[in-house]
């Protein structure tokens, strides 16, 4: 597939960028309803993002003096980072725990992770008042801050993810000089990714420890960092199941001629999801008792907490268990979808819904905040598709398929 040196550069471009089509044919192939919707979202969203930098946060968001963190932090940053946890969970499963059967989904998981972190970083840049001063975390000694640790770890981990993603990227570019040493470094990169992920996934929860009076007591806990870390693992497992189910449908052509038993892998992940969610449910109960917060299970927030616990933690745990035991891949996938929504619900609860709970004029995100978040997700999906159609992510590169690993 990689034609270089003797052939003209334009044919490499045609093969590897235009997927072997003429420019006109390629553009024609882009005219699908799905692409039209994505284009519409981005054509509104990208100018909105520019407008936010021109006009400021007050003009584009509903943030207030009592709600300094809104949708862009709660969803783009916190939920984005949680849902991108598949990179380290599957990476650890394959490289550390030697569960080689998951090798086929390791690269898509890393790609999802990398793009998820990029979305989180862009969302963060949109939210910061003066994002260029971010470099201050490297120059000023803010070590007493949990956010200092989050910033450093996210920066380091995004670098690690990029290096892991760079392997298929360099394979696509045919640059053996680059991908070979990176392939050899994969074990070290995986150890680093588990280490960094443990630190910042939990630290994102620790951010709220300093504000016990402002977060509704059913969500505030001195153990909130453990909750965030465990739900990150759940999010990683569940997102990988959802992503591989969609990839198998959408990118079916890449799986032809090979057999990747997605069903068996899905069932295996479902087992893990069942056990982790089951334990997490009880852990949350422990957290509430430990904080002496039982009396807060009342009113709207008490009811909403029960919805999160029963509908988005216990229910997917039981569905995962049922699906894994009865080898029912569909049930496992449904459980995964519910679990993913549950992670979103949890992160939004901690950052928005249960925050500033005494305020009668509670924060509701503006339509512009919502649209920008939607745009970032759309761009992530489009990037995923673009990369997967060109680079060896869903399949092995030519040299690995026949030769040794």
């Amino acid at each position: 597939m990689n034609s270089h040196a003797t052939t003209a550069p334009r044919s490499w471009f045609k093969e590897n960028i235009l997927l072997g089509m003429n420019p006109t044919d390629y553009v024609k192939s882009l005219l699908t309803p799905f692409n039209a919707v994505c284009a519409f979202i981005c054509m509104v969203g990208v100018p909105l993002l520019v407008y936010r930098f021109y006009a400021g946060l007050g003009a584009t968001t509903n943030l207030s003096q009592t709600q300094p963190w809104g949708l862009w932090i709660g969803f783009d940053m916190m939920t984005g980072i949680a849902l991108a946890a598949g990179g380290f969970t599957i990476g650890a499963a394959v490289e550390i725990f030697n569960l080689k059967e998951y090798h086929a989904i390791e690269r898509p998981a890393i790609l999802t992770g990398f793009l998820g972190y990029l979305i989180a970083v862009v969302g963060l840049i949109a939210d910061l008042g003066k994002p260029w001063n971010m470099v201050g975390i490297f120059t000023y000694n803010g070590t007493r801050s949990v956010l200092f640790e989050v910033a450093w770890c996210v920066a380091c981990y995004t670098t690690v993810l990029f290096l892991e993603f760079a392997v298929p990227m360099f394979e696509w570019l045919g640059l053996k000089r680059f991908y070979q040493p990176l392939r050899k470094a994969l074990l070290a990169l995986t150890v680093l990714s588990v280490m960094f992920s443990t630190m910042h996934q939990s630290a994102l929860g620790s951010l709220f420890i300093i504000a016990p009076g402002k977060l509704y007591p059913l969500w505030w806990s001195q153990w909130i960092y453990a909750f965030f870390f465990i739900t990150a693992i759940v999010a990683g497992i569940s997102m990988v199941i959802v992503e591989s189910a969609i990839s198998h449908k959408v990118f079916h052509s890449q799986f032809e001629g090979r057999h990747v038993d997605a069903s068996a892998l899905t069932l295996g992940l479902g087992k893990a999801g069942a056990v982790v969610l089951f334990a997490y449910f009880f852990l949350k109960l422990q957290g509430v008792i430990d904080a002496h917060a039982w009396g807060y299970v009342k009113g709207f927030l008490g009811a909403w907490w029960l919805v999160e616990m029963l509908g988005f933690i216990l229910l997917p745990a039981l569905l995962y268990a049922y699906g894994a035991r009865n080898r029912n891949v569909t049930v496992v996938r449904v459980a995964a979808a519910i679990a993913v929504v549950g992670i979103v619900v949890n992160r939004l609860n901690v950052s928005i819904v249960a925050w500033d709970y005494g305020n009668p004029n509670h924060y509701v995100p503006s339509w512009m905040e919502i649209w920008v978040s939607l745009t970032l997700v759309t761009l992530g999906v489009l990037a995923f598709r673009w990369i997967v159609n060109r680079m060896p992510v869903l399949h092995e590169p030519a040299d690995l398929a026949t030769a040794e690993h």
């Binding site: 059967e101 990747v260 068996a264 009880f282 008792i289 035991r325």
Partner: protein
């Protein structure tokens, strides 16, 4: 925490410990339920009687024979660990009956590496070929040249009709992806029901008669779609 003390220290600690103990008690059955090991064989043992012989018309599940020590791959190949640590690979009864008379067999070369789920061999029948997926990872150490030369040997798919032998570096991990014993029979039952459903217009009267299907069912009964069927069941 100040202010809203609903529970004081000691009763709360008691609740925490009680909850933890309760959770541990619940965890054991939950784990066993998720792993699902014990219950399945009992259920199937009742339904399946003596080891099914290919010739006996005992309904759909008796069409296809599965020996005890053999592990089946969803692509209808099988793997069996030998005493010397190598693994023999072959084509299962279902696949053999589905494809029928084989004109040619293309096997991997000794020294070649095969991977679980990747095409390792090909069967040719008429002018079409069907790929067979390897059930395990490994390096090919031996090849059944006799089967390649006389495809008729495949009539004994688990014995003389073996295809090749490999040295498997991670058999334990591979086996987790394979069916064996009662689970394999259960799965084959499902596969044959799926096949019967596809071919039902023609097959209806055969089932009623209780006759065993002819070799090459798919080809005989649905020549136009046989390679689609083969692809569906062999997953290639």
């Amino acid at each position: 925490m100040t202010g809203h003390e609903f529970l004081s220290g000691y009763p709360a600690k008691l609740m925490e410990y009680a909850l933890a103990v309760g959770y541990l008690i619940l965890f054991i059955p939950f784990w066993r339920y998720v792993q699902g090991a014990k219950a399945a064989p009992k259920r199937v043992a009742v339904a399946v009687q003596a080891p099914a012989r290919a010739a006996e018309p005992r309904g759909v599940m008796a069409w296809f024979h599965v020996p005890e020590n053999v592990h089946l791959h969803p692509g209808h190949t099988w793997a069996r660990m030998e005493e010397d640590g190598s693994v023999t690979v072959g084509l299962d009864d279902f696949a053999h009956k589905l494809v029928g008379r084989v004109a040619a067999v293309a096997l991997p070369e000794p020294g070649a590496r095969v991977a679980q789920g990747e095409v390792a061999a090909r069967l040719g029948a008429d002018s079409k070929t069907v790929g067979l997926l390897s059930p395990v990872d490994g390096t090919v150490v031996a090849v059944n040249r006799a089967a390649a030369e006389e495809p008729g040997r495949l009539e004994d798919p688990y014995g003389k009709g073996w295809l090749f032998r490999v040295k498997p570096p991670r058999f334990a991990a591979n086996v987790r992806q394979l069916f064996s014993g009662a689970a394999a029979r259960e799965w084959l039952e499902g596969a044959s029901q799926a096949l019967a459903a596809r071919l039902s217009p023609q097959l209806g009267h055969v089932l009623q008669d209780g006759g065993t299907p002819v070799n090459g069912i798919a080809r005989e009964l649905d020549p136009e779609h046989w390679d689609e069927i083969a692809r569906n069941f062999f997953r290639t």
